[in-house]
């Protein structure tokens, strides 16, 4: 039946005379298609012999030819050495002891090289004071292969040869005779370099040497110098401490050079019923505060008063809570006698002196062989800065520092620097300073250099090259030797300097070990002594100012990942989530919840699963930083804010890594405490935060108890400890442990034959430092995905460190709250409350990687059997078999499987180290680089366990006791000893004891997965005085 309805196509049809309607009835388009325009001139077209048919033929043939050509396998070339070096066997790694000393991080390391390429940094167990092999040190190997490094020395922005460069510098130095030239360097802590600089300055007397620590420790140095007569910092062995009271000292972070976590963790694990008690007063939530037994939020100005009160001053004016905590801490310190210690990170000489005085008799503090890794004087640097600005300094030679970027008033300094008669920058990259300098000397990475370092007085370390310089670079010391007319090479020069220290050992032995401890005082070196340091009178102005003028107290800090910002172009570090905030690729101002709501600042989780935060403008007098994202930080002291240094770099930094804001603008007087005003602005910032759920809501994820309970609880009639119960399931109306065979769906497998690997993680000693995250990244070729992907929670880290806040004052109260809930209404409202962390929460860290479940839920759901179990306890993942259904990830209760949403290597969309030839040199040849569409996850570093087994087989011997302990990259990287890996079938091994420990439990035991990762219950020493 035909319809009589008329359908109107347009309003035009109403107009009967419309030409358009008529035209449209005839044609598809109203006007003719202007074919002439795109077909070009007719004549050529007609003259052309290529017809449409020909064209199709060509297309067909080329397509067919291309696909045929693709069938042929590529020809792979294999090029052997002409003359093979004796020490290199292809496929076998070599290890070299070396030392990093970049002015911020100082540590003895082992460098793993394959076929002559450094691919990984490891701890050097031979050194007693190794500094801290932290996340940045682990990542430093990637900075060697930075594409943005300087390839040759430059004069006026053009690459030149070193001969030309030497001539130019010599000419300039002669021209500068009699004029004030400053040699502004990082702290080298190097006896040979000090000697060399002295030779240089005596040849050119107009040059004076000033040490500049980008992140200053000037006050601590001043105080120590005033008391002990040597410019250094006291060393602390926290394993000997019974009571640690820290006032703003981030001693698990970068406080006074860092490196204290190992000792701290050792003393913070209950042994024989005892563990250290740690009371912490701070403004920002730091790693240290998160690990403290008692954390008291206090603004910097309150902290100064706290410190004075601890040393005998009054507590009047302090809030009641703080006053109470101070009183309690005081008693505990007194009880601990010489095993108590007070440490402070306040930028005030006075505060530092108080701490030194209190600690004078403490066994924890070592003032005899102090730490030498910071030498700078804020006053001296400030005078240089002023000198350049007012023109009294005529020339500036910078080594390893980037003052134009990191000076507080760089907008005044930068033009003055450009006007200098001589500006010479030694730099690995064309950073902000080097970009403005007349002469730029390209320096090698520490893995390409020689050097010696005295990290701690009397402990000497050597730095040796592990690869031939990648570019036409020359290290600072070799330049000085050339310019002073000395023809010796720097390594020979070091040998000369060392001749005195090498008592009882040889140069090669020292080089092999990397460290030498010597009673020789100092190598020909005189560290500026005398008890009158240049006091900085203004540095603590912000600290003493307690006026309530609406300003907030800003504490500038350094992040675990980026530190002072030297390695800002390192994608591993950019992508590493901050241990506390779990945000990556950013810095932000941390604000307390109270202050945030007062100013109307918000953080919200938006529908696409990302965290958004408000923007503020931060003002400090006339310095303003606009559009700083706000992150509301539980535990931030009210009236204080925090901001990380080291971000906001733009020079010689890849576009993707130009993240955050440059907080050095607020680093006035090189003091970490300042007063600022916050002003809300429009817009929301998109964070790349990987943990959006911050509380445990009373669930059994991280188990913890108090030292008192731990010491006093006896096993109940079931042989269980109340604080570490085995979950029960009901079978035939009877409660049975979830691990009992009756509760099991599967027949068990005999795991006593051969090796069976387990990993133990001690939640007490894990400080959350993240070294394991980067070590895992380096070992397993984990790709970098970038900020946008991180925001979508598509991070690829095989190992994450979950951070939980308590929503009540403590986790215990969380659990009580959950247990005492009754009724639907109450639980709905109270569970909602429990999603929010408390204003001063307890914090707990939990490293989570594939748990290698013996009854793995992922294995049963894989449709192609790409993931399967091995007899050695590994949960295997065959990437080549995986088809990417992601069923396994969905069925994993621990959420540790990672999916390759994209091709992350050789893909311009992910332009990180895997996308350039230089960056790819860091890849571990023993581990696959995964492709798009496959699942990946922690493998328990099977490449290492297999290598150890093979070594034993080749030698025809059983695997030695403890040989597996450092097999996993994470456990090898763990300085605090929280992670222990090994074979549970090894009799009397570390791990076979740990799995049977009282504190041992499995994560989500109740689901019955029987993991091979075992956690040790966290114990808190909460007893007040």
């Amino acid at each position: 039946m035909a319809s009589n309805k008329k359908y109107w196509k347009s309003v035009e049809e109403l107009d009967e005379n419309s030409t358009i309607v008529e035209a449209l009835q005839q044609n598809e388009f109203v006007t003719d298609i202007p074919t002439d325009e795109f077909l070009g001139d007719k004549e050529t077209l007609e003259a052309s012999s290529t017809t449409r048919r020909d064209f199709l033929k060509y297309v067909g043939f080329t397509t067919a030819a291309a696909s045929l050509a693709a069938c042929e396998g590529p020809v792979i070339k294999s090029i052997p050495y002409v003359v093979a070096p004796d020490e290199i066997v292809p496929g076998i790694a070599n290890y070299y002891a070396s030392t990093i000393a970049d002015g911020f991080d100082f540590a003895n390391v082992l460098v793993k090289t394959r076929e002559g390429r450094p691919i990984k940094i490891e701890r050097n167990d031979q050194s007693k004071h190794s500094g801290s092999v932290n996340a940045r040190v682990h990542a430093s190997v990637l900075s060697l292969y930075d594409n943005n490094r300087l390839k040759a020395p430059q004069l006026a922005g053009k690459d030149v040869s070193w001969t030309d460069f030497d001539t130019a510098v010599a000419g300039k130095l002669n021209q500068m005779q009699g004029k004030d030239v400053v040699l502004l360097t990082q702290t080298f802590a190097s006896p040979s370099t000090s000697k060399l600089i002295k030779e240089f300055t005596s040849k050119f007397p107009n040059v004076r040497h000033v040490v500049y620590d980008t992140v200053s420790c000037s006050e601590a140095l001043d105080a120590f110098q005033a008391v002990y007569g040597i410019r250094a910092m006291a060393d602390y062995d926290f394993s000997k401490a019974e009571v640690i009271v820290s006032v703003g000292a981030d001693l698990l972070g970068d406080w006074q050079g860092g490196g204290y976590d190992a000792g701290y963790a050792k003393g913070h694990v209950p042994t024989n019923g005892k563990m250290s008690r740690h009371v912490h007063f701070e403004a920002n939530m730091s790693l240290t505060g998160a690990n403290a037994d008692k954390r008291v939020p206090a603004t910097p100005s309150q902290q100064l008063q706290v410190l004075k009160a601890l040393a005998g001053g009054s507590v009047s004016g302090l809030p009641e809570k703080i006053a109470k905590a101070v009183a309690s801490a005081k008693v505990q310190l007194a009880n601990a006698g010489n095993k108590g210690v007070i440490v402070t990170g306040l930028p005030s000489v006075e505060a530092q002196r108080i701490a030194l005085q209190v600690n004078a008799n403490s066994v924890v503090m070592d003032a005899v062989s102090p730490i030498m890794t910071r030498q700078g004087s804020a006053t001296a640097v400030a005078s240089v800065m002023q000198g350049v600005i007012d023109g009294s300094v005529k020339g500036l030679i910078t080594v390893g520092v980037d003052p134009v970027y990191s000076f507080p008033n760089s907008e005044k300094f930068a033009p003055a620097y450009q006007k200098l008669e001589m500006s010479l920058a030694f730099s690995m990259k064309k950073g902000t300073t080097a970009a403005l300098a007349q002469m730029v000397a390209a320096t090698p990475h520490y893995l390409e250099s020689w050097g010696d370092v005295q990290i701690k007085k009397g402990s000497f370390s050597l730095m040796q090259p592990t690869i031939r310089p990648l570019f036409d670079t020359r290290q600072f010391q070799d330049c000085l030797l050339t310019w002073t007319g000395n023809t010796t090479k720097y390594n020979d020069y070091i040998k000369d300097t060392w001749s005195g220290v090498l008592a009882g050992t040889t140069w090669n032995k020292a080089l092999e070990a990397g460290v030498v401890t010597s009673s020789e005082k100092v190598l020909n070196e005189e560290i500026s002594t005398g008890k009158t340091p240049l006091e900085n009178s203004t540095s603590n102005a912000a600290l003493n100012n307690t006026s309530q003028d609406g300003t907030l107290e800003l504490t500038l800090y350094t992040k675990t990942s980026l530190g002072d910002g030297q390695q800002a172009n390192n994608p591993w570090l950019q992508e590493m989530p901050d241990p506390i905030t779990r945000a990556s690729w950013d810095n932000y101002v941390t604000v307390s919840k109270a202050d945030a709501s007062a100013m109307g600042l918000i953080n919200e989780n938006v529908a696409n699963g990302g965290l958004n935060g408000s923007y503020v403008n931060i003002k400090m007098d006339d310095v303003v930083i606009n559009n700083v994202p706000v992150l509301i930080q539980p535990g931030q002291a009210k009236g204080s804010v925090g901001l990380a240094l080291g971000y906001g770099k733009t020079a010689a930094i890849q576009q993707e890594m130009q993240t955050g804001v440059n907080a050095y603008a607020f680093y006035d007087n090189f003091s970490s405490v300042q007063r600022v005003r916050l002003e809300k602005t429009t817009g929301m910032h998109e964070f790349a935060c990987v943990q959006l759920h911050n509380t445990m809501m009373g669930r059994d994820i991280i188990r913890e108890t108090t030292l008192e309970v731990f010491n006093t609880t006896k096993r109940n009639h079931e042989g269980e400890l109340d604080w570490n119960p085995m979950p029960k399931v009901s079978r035939d109306h009877e409660e049975i442990p979830v691990t009992s065979p009756e509760a099991d769906l599967w027949t068990s497998f005999d795991r006593s034959i051969g090796h069976h690997f387990n990993l133990s993680i001690d939640l007490n000693s894990c400080t959350g430092c993240g070294a394991c995250v980067i070590a895992c990244h380096a070992e397993n070729n984990v790709p970098v995905v970038g900020k946008q992907e991180m925001r979508k929670s598509r991070d690829m880290h095989w190992l994450r460190i979950d951070r939980y806040y308590s929503s009540e004052e403590s986790f215990e109260q969380d659990e009580d709250k959950k247990i005492n809930m009754s009724g639907l209404g109450e639980s709905l409202s109270q569970f909602a409350e429990m999603e929010d962390p408390s204003a001063n929460p307890q914090v707990a860290f939990m490293p989570v990687m594939c748990q290698h479940c013996n009854h793995a839920p992922c294995e049963t759901v894989c449709p192609v059997a790409a993931t399967s179990h091995s007899r050695q306890g590994h949960n295997h993942m065959a990437y080549n078999r995986c088809v990417g259904t992601r069923y396994c990830a969905n069925n994993c209760p621990y959420k540790v499987r990672r999916f390759n949403w994209f091709l992350y290597n050789e893909n311009d969309e992910f332009d990180y180290h895997m996308n350039n030839d230089l960056g790819r040199m860091v890849l571990n040849p023993d581990v696959n680089v995964r492709s798009r569409g496959v699942m990946e996850k922690c493998s328990f570093c099977i490449q290492s366990t297999q290598a150890i087994i093979l070594q034993a087989k080749r030698d025809g011997r059983p695997v030695a006791k403890g040989e597996f302990n450092d097999a996993c990259a994470c456990s090898a990287a763990c300085e605090s000893g929280a992670m222990r890996f090994g074979d549970v079938n090894e009799e009397g091994g570390v791990i076979s004891e740990l799995v049977k420990d009282d504190r041992a439990y499995h994560l989500l035991e109740a689901v019955g997965t029987k993991p091979n990762v075992v956690y040790q219950t966290k114990i808190r020493n909460i007893k007040e005085a």
Binding site: P80, V82, P90, S752, S868, S870, K953
Partner: protein
């Protein structure tokens, strides 16, 4: 017919004559060389044949007759020095140098002060024999340049066969034509004589009946489909399989000569196979361990190479010298090197981990098990398919070599009890687990 036969006979005769002539000429040439040699011996009062033996045993490592090596070329050395001097030099050159003899010192200096071994065991007669040998004339390289006669003779039989075949074809065609002509004539006769020929009945062609038979068609189609599926599957499964891959290498390196004729152990050059996952392509300094003194191959080998493989081995050695920067005349390295870009033959995919040392050192598997008869390969090729099925099969069938390896003591005892067997295969030891090779 007679004509044809005659032609054939003459051609055969000519070929036989040619062949005979060639044979004779070859014999003549062959006889000439040994005759020359004997002449040389008598002239010098020593036995050159004995001398040759001595030379090869004692001197050849450092000396060549016509070319400098570590030591000077020795051809006609008796003309340069008197016998007494030579006796004392050979027996103990160092002593001679120590006496301050100017000639001894000169030669010592010329050859970079490399001391010559003392040979106190050689008698004067031995040295005489050696000297006699040094007068052996350099053989003019009788490169088997194909003589025109030989070429004719060599291909002679081929030509004659073709001729015979051609003639036979011609005869056959002739017969067919004759038959056709005869039939035609007979038909003509029949028509002329009015004899009626039987008319053939028109029958349905076989292909038509085939098409009309539905069953046959179906069966054929099924067979055709199955057959093509078999071949397509086989074809697809061989994608990415490079068995037999034998690429042309920058230097024609003969494993047949090195591993076969000279019986050099595989591990001598591929030393890292014992301790690393890579077998390693030897660096050029390893080649030079021997080739420093082997600048030329033996004549027979050279001839064989030219004839059978079309390769001038000596030129290939020169390529090595160029790459490693060896100056043969001055016997030193120039320092100008250019790495050799070999074409890799055995390519495992990146996702498969294979460790040579596990198989070579621990399991004691012969290289030939996977790499085939390398000692017979003139150029290396991929012998095994290198597929996962091939790996797995071997792991299933091969027993783990546990004897004398303490690593296995415990696990072997426990596992053999569990499986109730004496010998454990690699598979039972866990050698089939995915993660053992894929990570």
């Amino acid at each position: 017919m007679q004509k044809v036969n005659l032609k054939r006979l003459s051609s055969i005769l000519s070929v036989v004559a040619l062949a005979l002539a060639l044979l004779l000429s070859k014999n003549v040439l062959a006889q000439a060389t040994p005759a020359d040699d004997t002449a040389a011996i008598s002239a010098n009062g020593g036995d050159a044949a004995l001398g040759e033996k001595l030379f090869k045993a004692n001197c050849a490592a450092c000396h060549k007759l016509y070319k400098k090596a570590t030591g000077p070329a020795l051809y006609g050395v008796g003309d340069k020095y008197e016998k007494e001097w030579l006796y004392s030099w050979v027996k103990n050159s160092a002593a001679l140098i120590a006496t301050g003899d100017s000639r001894a010192n000169a030669i010592f200096e010329e050859y970079n002060k490399s001391a010559m071994n003392a040979f106190p065991g050689l008698s004067n007669t031995d040295i005489d024999n050696l000297i006699a040998y040094t007068y052996t004339e350099k053989k003019v390289s009788v490169a088997p340049a194909p003589l025109p006669g030989a070429a004719a003779a060599g291909s002679g039989s081929g030509v004659s066969n073709n001729i015979i075949l051609g003639i036979l074809t011609f005869v056959f065609l002739l017969l067919v034509t004759i038959l056709f002509l005869v039939t035609k004539t007979l038909n003509k006769f029949a028509v002329a004589n009015g004899i009626a020929l039987p008319v053939r009945e028109h029958r349905k062609p076989i292909w038509k009946s085939f098409i009309e038979n539905q069953f046959l068609l179906l069966v054929t189609a099924v067979i055709f489909l199955l057959g093509s599926a078999y071949f397509i599957y086989g074809g697809l499964m061989s994608v990415g399989l490079d068995q037999g891959y034998a690429p042309v290498q920058p230097i024609h390196y003969s494993h047949r000569i090195h591993a076969g004729s000279n019986e050099i152990d595989c591990n001598y050059c591929h030393s890292s196979a014992r301790k690393s996952k890579h077998s390693g392509i030897p660096s050029l300094n390893v080649c030079m361990n021997c080739h420093k003194s082997i600048g030329e191959v033996a004549e027979g080998v050279q001839a064989e190479g030219l004839a059978e493989f079309g390769v001038d081995y000596n030129k290939e050695i020169q390529k090595l010298y160029k790459a490693v920067g060896w100056d043969e005349d001055n016997q030193n390295y120039t320092g100008e090197t250019e790495p050799v870009k070999w074409v890799r033959i055995h390519n495992l995919p990146d996702f498969a981990y294979f460790n040579h040392s596990q198989h070579v050192t621990v399991a004691g598997v012969d290289c030939q098990k996977c790499h085939g008869p390398v000692e017979e390969m003139e150029i290396m090729y991929q012998y095994s398919p290198l597929t996962m099925g091939w790996c797995i099969n071997c792991h299933r069938e091969t027993n783990v070599k546990v004897q004398g390896n303490d690593y296995y003591n415990k696990i072997h005892e426990e596992l053999s009890k569990k499986y109730g067997v004496e010998q454990l295969t690699a598979a039972q030891m866990g050698g089939l687990e995915c993660g053992k090779c894929h990570y």
